[in-house]
Structures are given as structure tokens and as C-alpha cells.
């Protein structure tokens, strides 16, 4: 259980977290938000890496595993030694370390690289080794900050199946700005924007936010749009050029209503207040 209440964090000139609150039980949570919305700051606050100005974070004394955006270290050590280093930092008893390390490396498909130097691993492998260190020691709360950055499509799929394997009895937060990353695996989604929690719900609930708000209008007719709207895409259909628009007000008769309802549309509606 992780409870965050009214969290405020300001840097010298900017507000990173502005009264962020949420309550997370066991399960996988996707933390979505544009760049600079406060995702990483929140992760760092949970880990105790940075202090916050006010508010509270309660994690009930659960151990935390963390993968930051940037991970790369100790190139002269072998992967196994690096994991041993983390196991010691996490105070995993010596007698259990070997079993724990082997099982984590197997989960991220790096068992055969255990004796390779970290410096000789590819970027994707280093990322996976970062995932392995985060799950080492069976922490009850795991924070992944942009975990799929630098992973190829096959590795992304493997990461998603890894999450399904380890999710039982854990609170896992995946911070990303890639909507498709969270759709398949996250039971709940939190959208953070300008340091505020603007949406918490399931992916279906998020998709619902866009229902009836998606339109296709011919290019050049944007002037007819009113209220809050967002031009998401340009589409060619039947030899004509259209704009894919999300709008909270009905669009003129010439527009064709689209079904909408994708979670990406829902995300944009929440973000643009549509």
C-alpha cells in the first residue's frame, strides 16, 4: 500500500508537484504524463532521493525497488558482481544472494551474461540489468521510470510479460509518456500534469473520456472549431485530407464523427481538458 497525500515540491523557480495525491493498492499502475509533468520528481520523492516541501508519503515500511531513467554503472564488474553489489546494498542475507540474483537474471533473460562485464553489454541489456536490480530482493513496491526506453519491440514484449510474472502482491508503478506501454499491462492509470493528479482510473475509464469527442474534419475548416479542441493527426481518406480532432463541443455538420475511445484519445482529453 502506498499513500501519497497533498505532495508539494518546488525547485528554485518551478513547481514540480502541486498537491499530488493518490492511494495505490497492490497491482500495476501506469503513471502517464508529458515531459516535465512531475513523474520523475514523484518517483524520487517516493524513494527518498529528494525531499519535498509538504505533504506525506506512506509506504508502510515496504521495501522499494527503483529503476531510474538513467542506469549504467560499474563497467569493470561482471553483471553477477554488479547484482551482488546491489544485493549487499539492499541488505539481502549473503546465503540468499546467489539464488536471488540467478532468479532475477533469469527473469530478464540475462542468465547467460552473468559473467560478462557490464561494460560489454548492449544498451538494451544494461536496461534489462537495471530492471533485474530493481526486482532483486522481492521489494513490495517497485518504481520503473521509463523502463522501456532503449528496448527493442521484442524486449518491450518481454518486459510486459515479466511484469505479469512478478506483479502478485506488489505495487508496481511504471512512469512513461508512451501510452501504449501501459495499456496492456496496467490495471490502473494515473495521469499527472503540472504536478497534479488529473485522472485515476482503469484504461477503459480513460478511453471513455474520449467517447463522442473525436471528429474528422476536412483540412482547412479548423476555423469552425469552438470550445476546447485538439488537433491530434492529419489523415488521408478517399483522396481527401482530414484532421483528426478531439473536441468537447459538437463540430459542424460537415464533420464525420469517429468512434474515439482509444486510451491515447482519452489521455489527450484528460491532458487538454476536453
Amino acid at each position: 500500500m502506498l499513500k501519497i497525500e497533498n505532495l508539494h515540491k518546488t525547485y528554485k523557480k518551478s513547481i514540480a508537484l502541486d498537491g499530488f495525491s493518490c492511494e495505490l493498492g497492490r497491482g500495476i499502475y501506469g503513471l502517464l504524463g508529458p515531459n516535465g509533468s512531475g513523474k520523475t520528481t514523484m518517483m524520487r520523492c517516493i524513494c527518498g532521493l529528494i525531499s519535498y516541501n509538504s505533504g506525506s508519503i506512506e509506504c508502510g515500511g515496504d521495501k522499494i525497488g527503483y529503476l531510474p531513467q538513467q542506469f549504467g554503472m560499474m563497467k569493470a564488474l561482471t553483471l553477477y558482481e554488479m547484482m551482488e553489489y546491489f544485493a549487499t546494498l539492499k541488505r539481502i542475507p549473503k546465503a540468499e544472494q546467489d539464488k536471488e540474483i540467478k532468479s532475477c537474471l533469469e527473469l530478464v533473460n540475462l542468465s547467460d551474461k552473468a559473467r560478462s562485464r557490464v561494460g560489454s553489454l548492449s544498451g538494451g541489456m544494461v536496461r534489462r540489468s537495471g530492471i533485474a536490480q530493481a526486482i532483486l530482493g522481492d521489494p513490495k513496491i517497485i518504481l520503473f521510470d521509463e523502463p522501456t526506453a532503449g528496448l527493442d519491440p521484442e524486449e518491450r514484449m518481454r518486459f510486459k510479460s515479466l511484469l505479469k510474472k512478478i506483479k502478485d502482491g506488489k505495487t508496481i508503478i511504471i512512469s512513461t509518456h508512451i501510452v501504449s506501454d501501459v495499456e496492456a499491462v496496467c490495471g490502473s492509470i494515473i495521469i499527472i500534469d503540472r504536478g497534479k493528479n488529473i485522472f485515476t482510473g482503469s484504461s477503459r475509464e480513460m478511453a471513455e473520456l474520449a467517447r463522442g469527442k473525436a471528429y474528422l474534419i476536412e483540412e482547412g475548416r479548423e476555423s469552425s472549431l469552438s470550445g476546447n479542441f485538439y488537433i491530434k493527426d492529419r489523415i488521408s481518406r478517399d483522396g481527401k485530407s482530414y484532421l483528426y480532432v478531439l473536441s468537447d463541443s459538437p463540430v459542424h455538420a460537415a464533420a464525420r464523427a469517429e468512434s474515439g475511445g482509444g486510451i491515447e484519445d482519452g489521455y489527450l482529453c484528460a491532458l487538454k481538458n476536453i
Binding site: I50, Y66, Q70, F71, L77, T88, G130
Partner: protein, 217 residues
Amino acid sequence: MRFEKYLNSLIISKMALKSLGKLFFVPQIFMLILAPIATYLELLSGSSYPLCYLASYIILQVLCPFFSLWWPLLGFREHIEGGGRETLLAYKKSILRELIEVFIFYFLHFILLLLFYLLCWDFNYFPYLFIFLTQSFAFFSLSLSLAFLLKSISVPFIVGIIYEIFFMGAKAPGLDFINMLSSYPPEDAAGLFLPYVFILSACIIILTLAHLRFRRL
């Protein structure tokens, strides 16, 4: 539980040193091989015994304190400026204990060197052990403090080298206090402990304060 804590700390220090690869051996090469060779060559060249004693003392002054910063800075590089800093800090907020262990490990090497001088040539530098300890700790403490403040290990290295070059011979009146590396052995007890007690105390305080900065990302 307490024993396990100490053991964990020792393992972390060991792994940090292991992460240095071949660079780990540099202080040992200088301290345990090159310094005795330099003394041996000085003796071979026909220098008198007291002159050789003094020359070796100066060699110890120049070489050894500087190498007190080698293992801590390079071994804990990831904690200070590396790509793994954020991850490491998430699991361990303080590395002060490990740094002190590495310093003790370094100083044991130094004592070994002094023992070697005593046994081979009957050069007894043990009366100046406190001076060597203070000088080494000053280099160790100030370089780490600088590294913590700047989150960089290259600046302390450069500062250390510049200090060695410019101040090790500073004997001008009024400048003595700058020269931690008192090139010549002190003549009395006051010279042996003062101002080294103050330098040592100041360095402990500075390191402790700078370490507070290290704990923040």
C-alpha cells in the same frame, strides 16, 4: 545484526575497489614499489645516511598523502558522479563508513611501507605517523568534500595535483600554514602535533558537512 552491518559495509568497500580494475594497483605500485626503489637508488648513488633518510621522508610526503584520494574517489565514482548514482542513492544514503574503511585500508599500506623502511634500512618514520595520518586524511577529506559538492571526481584530482606542485615547498614565512606537507621532519613535540590536531579536526568536520550534500540528489 550489527556484525552483519559491518560485514555488508566491508563487502561494499571491497566491491567498490574491485570495480577499479587495473587502476586499483596504481597506489600500490607507487607506494610499495617505486618509493622503496627511489630510496634504494639514493643509497646506491652514495648519499649519506642522514641525507637519504631526509630524502625518503620527502618522498613519503609527496607521494603518500596524494594517493589517499585515489581509491575513495575512483572506487566510489559511481556514487559521486556516475550513471548509477541515482540507483545507488535510492538504496544507500550514506557511504561515509565505506569511505573510512577504504582510508584505513590505504593507511595500512602506508604503515606497511614505513615498516619496510624500518626493517630494510633502519629508517624509523613512526614518530611522524600522526603527521602522515593528518596529511593523508586532509587530502582524503578535502578531495571527497570537493567531489561531493561538485559531483565530480576530476576537479579534486586536479586540485590535489596543483596543491602538490605549488605548495609542497612553501616555506616562506607566513605561508607555512598552507603547507600541510611540512617537507622536513618537525623538531619538537609542538611541531609534531600542532597544527596537525587542528587540521585533522577541521577535516573531519568538513567531510561530515560535505557528506550531507552527497545525500541529496
